[in-house]
Symmetry: C4
């Protein structure tokens, strides 16, 4: 198992091409946020936009549109009951994230089924939160497993893998990953990443980050990184490491670090690692 | 009567366990915020989240959901007319706070009755604001008085205790506390705490804090501290003292200190006292 | 005509009494904000709360409640169609402000008529914006003119006084003030104040403040100062001067100063002048 | 083709006249923001207000009013289905901006047709975003082309001009501009401006600005500058240059620069260039 480090950031966060426009940095469609858990998808959206995604659309209960826009006018919104328009929107996506605050209703399930069925070979798909639970309950299949990322915490991984938490060893996790075929980000105080080729372990993470919404923020960062960076495995590793690095850094001065503070600090920290890389190359 | 001091903070605000997750720091359910006083429960929620509670749910009039989420996507929301879902939600709570902006209608009363009836032996219950008035009017009984905290200001204490403000002496207050059995936080410019075992007096507090919403913020802090810290009496003392300490500190540079500014500063000040404690132990 | 100066601030902004609570610093009821001009009453409310008013209630179109609360949970709200509840609320007020964003409909007029009719002898009443126009159009009478403050800009003063802008000389303005009996704050780039006893001229003000909402902010500050300070004439002078002083100071670094920035800076600047006064007395 | 530089800023951003009021700095009416793209018009409005426009009104789907006000109480709002009131409002405008988030429905088209038909000879009109596409689709005519500014990106310019992106050379662009008669701001990573008399090229711009909403912010800045500055061509050049200058400056410390951050920094940067000019004249 490889340890993540700052090298994983400087490998990915490079100077942007000068002749570029918003389309260059990808289109993400984020789906989630029901009547109760609307804040989850708002936090994902903030992370995605501030991670540098070119265009971010949020598909959520209409009830959540105003709060989302009050915080983040940069995002576009779609009422998640308008499935005919969702179909068109999904067609334009480079990355789809489904799950933060999605809930477990039949409507949630229909949205997940639609996304799974409509995924195109070049689209990345991140399945998070209650979408993982729904996926496990309904025994869905993946059309393009190598394009898919699951982001379970330990209980969700139990549902998805069938492995009790005590049995979630590296060997067992890797075995299940091979069956599923998708990348698995197993979140805990020391998050692990399982791909078909490699295993990574995050050495960072602080109990100051143990507060509701941290996972939603990570999911949004992953979507934003997948949207704009070409090496997808490297992008995932960078997102996981940077999320914890910012949390640890803020946690040296704050007893608890709010998820939205991670997002606010993304543009600054990303620049730091772009500069590090540039300096290294100058030498 | 013991005076509160910074020792009450360093006794409680300790370094968090490394192997932890959001569930480690407790689940709080906050109930209040009608059509007019919606801001009250928003302020409680901000205090609870920023005090470090792991998961905070807010049960309030649906009208308030959007403003709450625009300020605090970290909280979950539930329309307070959905009492069947409230029943399920209460089941998951470590701490319940009822009262900020609750109002005095029959619906408010039903919510209070439901909470009182459903309280489980291990759950802490904070009764604040109009819930105190309703409690006094309707002569409710407490199932687990030792698990309950009342946070009256002097008029509310008059309603609850029957003691006119002029008669609210330490002896009389303590006598009533013994009848009720719950902890009483009697708010004034020098707040007093009465438990079955002890009496505490807060030496801090500034007139810069004399503005609407300060009590709602304190109530949210108490809920957040009860959710995450094991020694409940110590947690209450720490919340009361820290609320005033932050207010006094900010008040040296601001003529009036807004309640939401107290909450914004919580993570920073809590970290200060964690560090103090760590340094003391190193010696 | 007396020039306003920093003495007008230090005369009013004194250290608060230690044994005080939110009621000590007054209750303000602010009425305004229709479907189009909702932002006006939000800006008044921010100014009133941050000026140190103990309790601020906002009576406005329900459409505006969520945005107000998203910015300022410290305020209470009332749907302005609920006139029976408004009657009760007005009864509790120390200061009433009517006008910012009120509009000129028959409902606006009914609200103004209700306020004028219900004013109690000890209540201060500030009439601003479209409420001045309505007052002029409908030839209302004041029950307690000495308790009333009008805050017209030059066009509104023309409507109220009958004086064309070119004829708005000090002598003429004073003559009309004597007929009306109320205090008049005639807003321009050099605002003038006319009372029954005195005339004041504000030497400050910057074109950086020439942006929509500045008057709404001033009206809110006046309400907040009247709510908490005993010498009402002095409170009005202090509010007018401080509004411009903050604007000028911020204007040295900003080409345009937003009204909400004035409000955000109120607690800091008020503290500065409390300290000035304390130091002067120590000598 | 002339290169833009800081001289274009100091030529326009001059000290404001002392005896001025909000009317001195113009009235802007901004039209756009449908159910999905509401954030676009919010970003335009923030840019317009913070660029120093005296009075800013936003005509948008009612759904967007609350989020707009939560961010920016300084703006006025009008439900864009109330076309009779829009007619009156347009009558008062110095500058009209239509397009950010307008969409392509028949209602969007009716709004554009109304604006084009009602434009008065002294009013400036900025046509942005989907309004450009609608304009091209429906072959509308301009009543006062010299008063009009189009702000297409390259795809929109293809629709408007008929020039494929590869054929968008300076010569070809200028030829089409002469047919249309309006000013054209052709947005790319090196934006070009075509007027009847001159061509300008922006040497600035950073890929950190390649994120959704940058164009909406630029459109709002242009409206704000046209509202308050007399030399309209110079105002347009200054807006284009300053937008990129702020973006580049923030981009040295942030990997991605959000559009709303450009707006937040406007008052500070504008002051810098006012001061530069003043100092130059003192010498």
């Amino acid at each position: 198992m490889q340890g993540l480090s700052q090298k994983n950031l400087s490998a990915v966060i490079r100077s942007r091409p000068k002749n570029s426009h918003k389309g260059t940095f990808g289109r993400a469609v984020l789906i989630g946020g029901n009547e109760t858990y609307g804040g989850a998808i708002m936090m994902s959206a903030e992370a995605c936009v501030k991670a540098g995604c070119g265009l971010t659309s949020v598909v959520t209960a209409e009830k959540n549109h105003t709060a989302l826009h009050a915080r983040l006018p940069e995002a576009m919104v779609l009422d998640w009951t308008l499935t005919h328009r969702l179909t068109d929107l999904l067609d334009t996506a480079d990355v789809i994230l489904i799950g933060p605050g999605l809930g477990l209703t039949s409507h949630s399930q229909q949205l997940l089924a639609l996304v799974l069925q409509q995924q195109k070979p070049e689209q990345r798909l991140v399945i998070d939160g209650s979408a993982i639970t729904l996926f496990a309950q309904h025994h869905y299949a993946l059309k393009y497993p190598k394009q898919v990322v699951f982001t379970p915490h330990q209980m969700e991984w139990e549902r998805l893998s069938g492995l009790k938490i005590d049995n979630q060893t590296v060997t067992q996790n890797q075995a299940v990953q091979r069956q599923i075929g998708a990348t698995v980000i197993l979140k805990s105080h020391r998050t692990e990443i399982y791909t078909s080729n490699a295993q990574f372990k995050n050495p960072l993470g602080t109990p100051a980050m143990a507060t509701g919404g941290m996972g939603d923020t990570l999911a949004g960062m992953i979507a934003g990184f997948l949207a704009q960076f070409d090496d997808k495995e490297a992008a995932i590793c960078a997102a996981v490491y940077l999320h914890s690095l910012i949390g640890e850094t803020l946690g040296t001065e704050h007893y608890v670090v709010l998820p939205t503070e991670i997002s606010q600090n993304l543009p600054y920290y990303m620049k730091q690692f772009e500069n590090t890389q540039n300096k290294a190359e100058e030498k």
